[in-house]
Symmetry: C2
Subunit: 425 residues, 2 copies
């Protein structure tokens, strides 16, 4: 991932809302799928408050890959890997910063407020990992105070398969799921709406070129399997989860909905913001050889945030309350490259358009906890909101908002957009 | 599911190999996708040793649903539900039994030996359940001798999400997966090929009409969500599984490959063979209301078998050795209808073409154990084969064959075909 002229902080756009935009300055240029005014789904790129309609400027873009961009999902384009991504980025950066192209492109901008966002890919498989070590410790402490981390954690990037069919783009209402829950003192479970509905602040990884079945992706090639990043909310029904998860893992507690932000923020856009990644504490085992190596800066320099508003707060005109904030690289014991290498080491095939969740990103700090389960200590220490309301878990009418920004000295900050969900009971 | 003239035991086919065929008499008529001689994937129906090329006889078939049958996967046809399935079955039964249609149809038969079978659907999601109670007890005993069944088992049809991308049709070679494994006495795990490669004898369920996100399928409608059945081998690396599965369930131990038989045996074909299902032992809890009710005969009257050949056995011309045999209905604590109702009760959306595994089908009998883990008591009591070889787990060159037959007084038996896999190390 090289830093080139597309990252030049002096470069601005003739789309004025892009300059100083928290998420989409001309240095970001993520990919998405959107529809507008009865027109079908198509590929786009957000710039400031607008979206560039990519098929509409196909001739101006040029490139052998415009056919892959002329589809209602990005799978085919992401499968092409970094070459076309880099070429598209270079060309768009030029078109959107050089006033000379304004006439050719301006008619193909659509206001984001007039667009409906869709999932960027047809998701073949969705896998969720558990690489947030502080989350694993915080949750483990609630079950095993003396031994919160299981013995495999520092050797195995723990992951499990999630449900692809119920992944939705930001804005999908969160219908409180029914399920079995059993109070510790109860003799038998009962069935009904979850009483411990929670969010999980995660990042999502979109897979680009995958691998054939039986053909692992070595760690030193894992970087090239990644097509981009998004925010991911792994909505979780804690009461259902506690009762169902033994011995095969979470199921109905999670598969009722997973929300993602609509924009695929590319590794190219992230180049200036990558870090050395998680520092293993003294005494921790070295990663096994198949998980060692990879790029020099595999750490995601993204500050992730979760915010909450309640109906009462919105009615009173109060702004969202920040629940947590933390740097992803400080939370992730395993890097995205290690995740990819591990996932495929047994020959399991990843496919373009697949989605991988990192797991909940909590930092070591009390203001960096990525779920209410952690913030409320398992529902024992309710959070008090600025409205005076308290929360152990999410209530009907609550809206959860995830955001992420990347910043680095000498570069223009970029963001991933928003991942929102309103609990509708 | 009514029994009609298509089940008439007096009905024979002019395709002579169909009469007395173990799997595909004219009373079965399952669906599949196949290719032959450079011709693309298309829908077919096995009859005896042949396949009927459905698009080739579209005009003879008639029916508004022939367009859905003219696709390289069955998703669209399965989404139509039982109406078109029943109509197709009726018409095919007529065409293949009445000599008058021989001229119109015979030219559209392809020998199965000349065909390449493919997956019947594009699998959106694959879920594996754990409804084989004897398997759960047998495996549980190896970990918790005094308390083999976890407290949730008799309330919750336990399931987890598997990998859709690595589901393959019968015949796919089984590449021994690499992964982390840790001997109990070892300080740290090591990485390498699995030493405890196993099979799991399961049935697969193909989903027909699904449900919208947030819209559960009630138990009394669950039957209509099922489009058919197949055999499923949930290949499992026990050493990888033991080390990785806490706390989120099996992952790399399973997702390197799942094999299915190619034929979708419809609920219509199974109508004469359904049974009352599992009898809960005295004292077991009643199913919660959302899992109670459904059809009168939800039990699968399928005798499932696992057979093994080794390289040495094949070289010596010895037949496959039967590892186990048992009736699915005797193994399944939860019915397929209960599985469907549970899976969707939280709003999780099932989609046409989805695949659901039952979990390993072991009966209470020592000759009905559906995995080597159970047969060899966790690798402690090796099985002796007719060749004199012994097995705790699968070795390179071993081939595993799953079959299933349904039989009932007064009806012609049908079968699911085969699910094969050769371990290639």
């Amino acid at each position: 991932m090289r830093i080139d002229e597309t990252h030049d902080p002096a470069r601005t756009s003739w789309v004025e809302s892009a300059n100083g935009h928290a998420d989409f300055p001309v240095q970001n240029l993520p990919l998405c799928i959107f529809a507008s005014e009865g027109r079908e789904r198509r590929a786009g790129v957000p710039i400031g408050d607008f979206l560039v309609d990519l098929p509409a400027i196909a001739d101006t873009l040029g490139g052998a890959w415009v056919d892959e961009l002329a589809q209602p999902v990005l799978n085919a384009f992401l499968a092409l890997g970094s070459g076309p991504r880099v070429a598209l980025r270079k060309r768009l950066s030029e078109l959107l910063s050089d006033e000379a192209y304004r006439d050719a492109v301006e008619g193909c901008l659509i206001g984001q407020s007039e667009a409906t966002m869709h999932l960027p890919t047809l998701i073949g498989d969705y896998t969720d990992f558990y690489v947030g070590i502080h989350h694993a410790i915080n949750v483990g402490k609630q079950f095993r105070p003396d031994n919160p981390l299981l013995p495999n954690y520092k050797y195995v990037p723990i992951g499990y398969h999630g449900r692809a069919s119920s992944v939705r783009v930001s804005g999908q209402p969160v219908v409180r799921p029914n399920g079995q829950r059993k109070a510790p003192e109860a003799e038998a479970p009962e069935y009904g709406p979850s009483r411990r509905l929670d969010y999980e602040l995660e990042l999502g990884v979109w897979i680009g070129p995958g691998n054939a079945l039986g053909d692992p992706i070595p760690i030193d090639q894992a970087e090239s399997a990644v097509a981009g990043y998004c925010l991911l909310n792994d909505w979780s029904a804690r009461d259902l989860q506690a009762w169902e998860y033994q011995p095969l893992g979470p199921f109905l507690a999670k598969n009722f909905l997973t929300s993602v932000s609509p924009f695929v923020v590319t590794p190219e856009a992230m180049a200036p913001f990558m870090t050395e990644g998680f520092r293993r504490p003294e005494g921790d085992p070295e990663p096994l050889p198949y998980l060692a190596g990879g790029s020099e800066k595999p750490g995601l320099g993204l500050t992730v945030r979760a915010l909450l508003t309640t109906r009462q707060m919105r009615d009173a005109g109060m702004p969202p309350h920040q629940l947590s904030q933390g740097l992803a690289a400080d939370a992730m014991y395993w890097s995205v490259e290690q995740i990819v290498a591990h996932h495929s080491c047994n020959g399991c095939n990843l496919q373009a358009g697949d989605l991988i969740g990192t797991g909940t990103l909590s930092t070591a700090s009390p203001d960096g906890l990525g779920s209410l389960l952690e913030i409320s200590k398992g529902g024992k220490q309710p959070l008090t909101l600025p409205s005076g309301e308290t929360r152990n878990f999410l209530e009907d009418g609550d809206e959860l908002i995830l955001t992420a920004q990347a910043a680095a000295q000498g570069f223009v900050s970029i963001g991933l957009g928003e991942c929102r969900g309103l609990v509708v009971g």
